[in-house]
């Protein structure tokens, strides 16, 4: 059991506040991903949970027990480092069994558990190797083996896949997902890669500027972003943002038409309309909501990315399913799907009907 709770937690380096108002409840067995651009404080938050960084204020509990002042070794949490942090002078077996060695577990018990973990991770034949004789993927597995061997109450991952190449990254991502299913342990995972976040997480925590922007399931964040930052951070390609004003019964795109969006009308307040590229249909010129000239067309096979210059509005990106026969400098019409449109007030907060 490991219910992790952070209440009003903040962190200061001298006078600089790097994290504030962190309130987070993590259920037992939940997979939480902390995501955000570099410098947003996500790694600091993870290190505070690990005990590697003191917590300036607020309370951090595991299963209701205050942990702020507990040393890392007594928190019963395992962590996988971005650099893997394998001990260079110990072979794979000793690396994995080190935590049990420190706890003076019986040698027989230790060997058995190391062997078990090695089997699961496919490392059986590498136990005598030193880390420098391993490939990146193998090192990554050893780092994970070192974490699971102790059967801790929670796992922390600090950008564990960022040093791997693209193919291995996908493979290890699946491995981590399987691990979570099998162990059903609480996991907290830091990444700046939204694909990892969307694929792995039960819930995602989006951090920016030391503040939690939104907490929710991947689908929540995709469909109902709380603000413009989340909307643009989650989803690829990035959501189009068009300057607009709120009008009687909808929203008027600056330099373009007015869309009927019941419930969010106003009296001319400045706002932004957000539409994801995949929520725009290509139509014949003159039809649809906007008309523009295709600038660049990228054929990806499964999809086509079209960068359209809309006179008076600006560039709009469209992602169409399949292979769409649009040529550069060709005129196209764009239809924005109303049910997937987002409106953000001038301060960035999402407006809902």
């Amino acid at each position: 059991m490991a219910r992790i709770a952070l209440k009003d937690v903040y962190k200061k380096y001298g006078a600089v506040e790097v994290l504030r108002d962190i309130d987070l409840d993590i259920a037992d067995g939940e997979f939480i991903v902390l995501v955000g651009p570099s410098g947003c404080g996500k790694s600091t938050l993870l290190r505070m949970i690990a005990g590697l960084e003191p917590i300036t204020g607020g309370e951090f509990t595991i299963d209701g027990e205050r942990m702020n002042e507990i040393a890392p070794r007594d928190r019963d949490i395992a962590m996988v480092f971005q650099s893997y942090a394998l001990y260079p002078h110990m072979d794979v077996g000793r690396n994995m069994g080190f935590s049990m060695e420190i706890r003076r577990s019986p040698a027989a018990d230790r060997t058995e558990r190391v062997a078990g973990a090695a089997r699961t991770l496919g490392l059986d034949r590498l136990l005598d190797r030193l880390p420098k004789a391993l490939s990146g993927g193998q090192r990554q597995r050893v780092a994970m083996g070192r974490a699971i061997i102790r059967d801790p109450r929670a796992f922390l991952f600090d950008e564990p896949l960022s040093n791997l190449d693209a193919a291995l990254r996908v493979e290890m991502r699946l491995e981590i997902a399987r691990l979570h299913q099998r162990l059903a342990a609480t996991m907290i995972y830091v990444t700046h890669d939204q694909v990892e976040a969307l694929t792995l997480a039960d819930r995602i925590v989006v951090l920016e500027g030391g503040i939690i922007q939104q907490v929710g399931t991947p689908l929540d964040l995709y469909e109902r972003p709380a603000n413009r930052f989340v909307a643009q951070f989650i989803g690829s390609p990035t959501m189009n943002i068009l300057p607009a004003e709120r009008s009687d019964n909808g929203i008027a795109i600056r330099g373009g038409p007015t869309l009927d969006l019941p419930g969010i009308g106003g009296t001319g307040e400045v706002a932004n309309l957000g539409v994801r590229p995949e929520h725009i249909d290509i139509t014949a010129p003159g039809q649809g909501d906007l008309t523009g000239v295709a600038d660049v067309v990228e054929h990806l096979g499964s999809d086509t990315n079209i960068y359209v210059d809309v006179q008076g509005v600006g560039p709009v990106m469209v992602r169409a399913r399949g292979n769409v026969p649009v040529k550069p400098r060709e005129s196209v019409g764009l239809r924005l799907l109303r049910e997937h449109a987002h409106v953000f007030a001038s301060d960035g907060v999402a407006l809902r009907a």
Binding site: M1, P54, D63, N68, E69, I70, A71, R73, D74, D76, I102, R103, R104, S105, R150, D151, R153
Partner: protein, 312 residues
């Protein structure tokens, strides 16, 4: 928690006490530092303070009756002391003579060692070897080399016409200083070469490749890339080395003892002979304070120059 009973508990007591974490976080570095701080404090800083206080006292071990506070009397003596002013001039000569040759030869060696050549693995340790020779031994060796009875140098110098006849220059007040300087250059070139070589090796190779593609000649590469990159390192090394050499009395003490007729007496050897031979600790400390004062001025000037250069 019962699920976890399979784990043996961590040995040692658990840090559960409220506040322990922070206390440890604040105190831990000092724990690791305390032996160093205590030793440096007791063996260097406390004696330093005592030493400064000595300069206002009369402490002559040979005249124990004559002990007590004398105010600025020692400093008054110092200003009148012709030997002191002579030592100061000699210190300048000694320091800049040594540093100049060490730097020029050291830079040359570093540039050579930064290229590829046959037998480098053997040659590099050989040219660095003098640096490992204990200073007292460097001093003795060079003193012997200058001795016409067993050393070749006077004969060579006479053959070259530098000396009228092969005699020991360490006994000639006009030339004696060149003896310790030669020993110091021999001993110090490897140090400069090592430091500058390390700096040279930190210059990214792409810079030279880019310059070569742009058509720069070897000399242009040296003046436009190498020197600007080395400049900060050179400034720091030369400054620290100058101070170090100004304080460095071993060679002179062993080779000439400051003689003949004080022609090689520098401030630091004067301090040592005053303390060691005359056991006049008060006056020795006064000279030491004066030396410290000059070094501080030198450091301040250099730092000011450096700040000006960095701004450009």
């Amino acid at each position: 928690m019962t699920l976890r009973a399979q784990h043996a508990p961590l040995p040692g007591k658990k840090g559960r006490a409220e506040g322990t974490f922070y206390w440890r976080y604040v105190m831990e570095p000092w724990l690791y530092l305390s032996p160093a701080i205590i030793l440096i404090g007791l063996v260097m800083l406390v004696p330093l303070a005592i030493g400064i206080s000595y300069s206002f006292q009369s402490i002559e071990l040979l005249r124990p009756m004559n002990t007590g506070w004398v105010g600025f009397e020692n400093y008054g003596d110092l200003v009148e002391d012709r030997k002191f002013w002579k030592s100061l001039r000699n210190t300048l000569w000694w320091t800049f003579g040594s540093v100049g040759f060490q730097f020029a030869l050291g830079l040359g060696l570093a540039l050579l060692l930064n290229t590829q050549f046959y037998g480098k693995r053997l040659i590099q340790p050989l040219v660095f070897l003098p640096w490992a020779v204990p200073t007292f031994l460097s001093a003795l060796t060079w003193a012997w080399l200058f001795n016409p009875v067993i050393g070749p140098l006077p004969h060579w110098l006479a053959a070259l016409g530098v000396l009228s006849e092969p005699y020991n220059i360490l006994g000639d007040p006009d030339l004696a200083m060149w003896g310790p300087i030669a020993a110091n250059v021999w001993y110090g070139v490897p140090f400069f070469a090592i430091t500058l070589l390390a700096a040279l090796q930190s210059i990214p190779g792409e810079l030279y490749e880019a310059a070569e593609i742009d058509g720069a000649t070897g000399w242009q590469c040296f003046t436009k890339i190498t020197l600007p990159f080395l400049a900060p390192m050179i400034a720091i090394t030369v400054m620290l080395r100058t101070i170090w050499i100004a304080n460095f009395a071993d060679l002179i003490f062993v080779m000439t003892g400051g003689g003949p007729a004080n022609s090689t007496q520098i401030l630091s050897s004067y301090i040592f002979t005053t303390a060691f031979r005359k056991l006049d600790f008060g006056y020795a400390s006064t000279i030491a304070v004066a030396l410290l004062f000059f070094l501080l001025i030198f450091a301040a000037i250099l730092l000011a120059i450096r700040r000006k250069l960095v701004r450009i």
